[in-house]
């Protein structure tokens, strides 16, 4: 996937992700402060707008950095800052590359996971977006081809949401609910899963 295709794919996926905004808002109202719907909607729209302005010659690194800045500025929430930092970390793994394949996707997602763990001072099992990202990074790392990578990453992200639902949230506002958080799906991990689902739907469309 070259820059121009990557750009189109991100925009199409985010347009689909916005359709999950109400679900994410409701999940976040139960566990957080309810602004995840706005973060995802405003952030996705801002990324789409900024990526439309980029020329066809933009490199994958430039695309990821443009997306990061747009997402962070749209609604400066904690989640937006974490996601933007993760995208910037990922963009460093793409420096000098014009073509994004499975190894590049895998390196990007692994760097994004490391950034969220470091900045969010969180680890797997804390019931956050990190659980989904790490699961997807592992799936990509062991996949044999891009199609298998896509499917297994998406399945892994879905599984991470299911398996952490019964855990107690240990980071962020959700942790203030203590044992009341048990049984509620994590909004951040759900958002990541919905994004991968959208990415897979766009991949399946005829080119």
């Amino acid at each position: 996937m070259r820059g121009i295709e990557l750009n189109q794919h991100i925009r199409a996926s985010l347009a689909l992700l916005i359709e999950s905004a109400d679900e994410l808002r409701d999940l976040d109202q139960a566990l957080g402060d309810g602004d995840l719907g706005i973060t995802v909607t405003a952030g996705s729209r801002a990324v789409i707008t900024e990526l439309e302005q980029l020329g066809d010659a933009a490199t994958p690194t430039e695309i990821a950095r443009t997306a990061a800045k747009a997402f962070a500025n749209a609604n400066p929430s904690t989640m937006a800052a974490l996601v933007a930092g993760a995208l910037l970390s990922g963009s460093r793994t793409w420096e000098g590359k014009d073509e994004i394949g499975l190894p590049e996707a895998s390196a990007f997602v692994a760097a994004a996971a490391a950034s969220i763990a470091h900045r969010g001072k969180t680890e797997v099992g804390d019931k956050t977006i990190l659980d989904g990202i790490v699961a997807a990074a592992d799936a990509l790392a062991s996949a044999g081809d891009p199609a298998e990578g896509m499917t297994s990453a998406c399945d892994a992200a879905a599984r991470a949401v299911r398996e952490t639902t019964e855990l107690q949230s240990r980071r962020g506002r959700a942790s203030w609910l203590q044992e009341r958080s048990i049984g509620l799906p994590d909004p951040g991990a759900t958002a990541f899963w919905r994004f991968l689902e959208a990415w897979a739907v766009v991949s399946a469309r005829p080119h």
Binding site: A72, P76, A81, L82, A84, R119
Partner: protein, 333 residues
């Protein structure tokens, strides 16, 4: 609720505009975003820039300490909320004189996320940054977890030291070292008597019955770490100062700077009554008071209450405190 405001959502932009109009010789806004303010002569070639920031509602805190010998720039959030990473980046670019930029602000989640992201963005622009967090509130975490403490009024000492070090031409690494050293030797604790009222909601931030006070109060209208019966000024001074002396391990022969800070609605007279006893408490233990600050340095809108901060001094820290500085709200020398 009665407040001297126009539309609540214009509150922040309007008071920033007021500061800019009142002090054009000291501060300016580098672009068209009122939420970014820098010292009038920024950037200073070859000198480390210092960017601070955080929510509004704490004046003089954050924006009041932009000036010569203090911070070089500030990013300004809404009341009690973080500025965006883009605003921090704009301040960074406007103060970068080629020697790197120090981010110095209080330890709060939202601010940390946005400043950390600004570090990444600045790096992409080729501007090296480093971060030191104010974390002086001894009531927020025990000494063993001091790195998780929140930042309150004691950050004044860190601003003063960082600004003086940058002004004399220290490298970014050196500015970080002296600022960390000051943060390490600073401790603050406060009490609250009446809550903050948010301009946007018009509601008090907590209810506090007559005859009670919040102990270990922060500067965001949040309750303290515990609640107790209201004490006399002397009892308050003794309890707060004793907690600080213990935390810093001070004793006979120690030298300190003392800051008695009003939280917004407490008269100067009461602050001086507190200072009186604090002074005597320290003097009785053979602790020498070298620098004194009494007044409003970090507030929480109209919260009633006060905090006491101590900085343990050595010659190096004292030299930094005594270096000249000038901002709209602070002057030394």
């Amino acid at each position: 609720m009665k407040k001297i405001i126009n539309a609540p959502e214009d509150f922040v932009d309007e008071f920033v505009e007021g500061i800019l109009l009142a002090h054009p010789d000291l501060v300016r806004t580098p672009g068209d975003d009122l939420r970014v303010m820098v010292r009038a002569d920024a950037p200073l070639a070859g000198k480390v820039g210092i960017v601070t920031g955080g929510g509004s509602g704490h004046l003089p805190l954050f924006k009041g300490y932009v000036g010569a010998g203090l911070c070089s720039g500030v990013a300004i959030g809404n009341v009690f909320s973080s500025p965006s990473s883009d605003q921090i980046l704009q301040a960074t670019k406007a103060v970068d004189g080629g020697a790197g930029v120090l981010y110095l602000y209080g330890n709060y989640g939202g601010d940390v996320f946005n400043f950390d992201l600004a570090c990444d963005l600045a790096e992409l622009e080729g501007i090296p940054t480093a971060t030191v967090l104010g974390r002086d509130d001894v009531a927020s975490q025990p000494r063993e977890r001091k790195h998780d403490r929140r930042g309150v009024a004691g950050i004044l000492f860190a601003y003063k030291a960082a600004g003086a070090a940058a002004e004399r031409g220290d490298s970014l690494e050196q500015v970080v070292a002296v600022t960390e050293d000051v943060v390490e030797h600073t401790a603050t604790i406060g009490i609250g008597l009446a809550p903050t009222i948010m301009p946007t909601t018009g509601k008090p931030s907590f209810e506090l019955p007559d005859g009670e006070m919040e102990i270990g109060i922060g500067i965001h209208g949040e309750p303290g770490s515990r609640r107790g019966p209201l004490e006399t000024a002397d009892e308050i001074a003794d309890h707060l100062t004793s907690a600080l002396v213990d935390d810093l391990g001070l004793g006979e022969g120690s030298r300190v700077a003392v800051l008695v800070n009003g939280l917004g609605a407490t008269p100067l007279e009461e602050l001086y009554v507190l200072y009186r006893r604090t002074h005597r408490f320290l003097a009785d233990r053979g602790i020498e008071i070298v620098k004194k600050y009494v007044g409003e340095y970090a507030t929480s809108l109209e919260m009633a209450g006060a905090s006491i901060s101590l900085l343990e001094l050595d010659d190096a820290r004292l030299e930094l405190l005594e270096a000249p500085a000038r901002s709209p709200f602070f002057r030394e020398g």
